[in-house]
Subunit: 173 residues, 2 copies
């Protein structure tokens, strides 16, 4: 499927000079949405994932259906102050600005060593994904891979991700 | 399934006097997550839904898998400034504070009259859900129902929702 045909370019969003890759046209097409989830499930199905971590907010839209498809648990990685119980935090820089992310300290079953997949809609500079990886480690998880719909290859985000796990991307710019 | 056993009470979050119903323990249990999605799909499967609208952020976690399960499109209803193209806006009051929500003006296929289900994790005062309903109407959709994991019945949110569509709730407090 030509996913790019379902992704819309919005110039100068959220800031001048940025071309925003808008996935809402993709999400509203049932076939395209299914294709995204099925494609990532095909890549990671054999990896015996225990938890899919979705990064707030668009990562939830990809991660939650993928968790259902893989019959895994879903764990939200959220912006500061949103998770109500005790959290681990990690600050990061992103394509336009800085932020931090949090994960519940008890996100994964105790005993741990569980196998975790991190999912987001977009790999840009890799700052968000690297922070998510740090949070998964802090919470006792073992990272098994990353899954994204889109990679902005010119930003080199892959270089900030650990080299020893697969990174699945469905569309590259 | 006893979903309440997977929902955790967090006192005084996000403000003193509020008991927050935390669904993260539910989300990380594959059986419980499947049960939620399957239960809502059972209710609305016969309704020929075209689009599931999820309300940012936790509504994405419920809405996106439900859209996949029902083979519908998924449409995000987001906080201000997040959607990159032209939007409709609606201000609302919520359990603790005020906010506004936005939907893309072209969220639904043109010609419209499409059948829309609004989904969120929680029905509290109903302000968020009523705003979402207004946005669906502005964008040309026809509301077919609401789906929530949790209803806080003592807040009377149902009274703010239109009386002529079904409201599915899996857990009541």
């Amino acid at each position: 499927m030509d996913l790019k045909a379902h992704i819309r370019d919005i110039p100068d969003f959220p800031e001048p000079g940025i071309v925003f890759r808008d996935i809402t046209p993709l999400l509203k097409e049932p076939d395209a949405l299914h294709f995204v989830i099925d494609s990532l499930a095909d890549v990671f199905g054999p990896s015996q994932i225990d938890y899919v971590c979705g990064i707030e907010s668009r990562g939830f839209i990809v991660g939650a259906p993928l968790a259902c498809k893989l019959s895994c648990g879903f764990v939200p990685i959220r912006k500061p102050g949103k998770l109500p119980a005790a959290v681990h935090s990690c600050a990061y820089t992103l394509e336009y600005g800085t932020n931090s992310l949090e994960i519940h300290q008890d996100a994964f079953a105790s005993g741990s060593g569980c196998r975790v997949l991190i999912v987001d809609d977009l790999l840009a500079t890799g700052g968000t994904a690297a922070a998510a990886n740090m949070l998964v480690e802090k919470a006792g998880g073992t990272l098994v891979g990353f899954g994204f719909i889109i990679e902005l290859t010119f930003l080199g985000g892959r270089l900030r991700l650990p080299g020893d796990v697969p990174v699945a991307v469905l569309v590259s710019y």
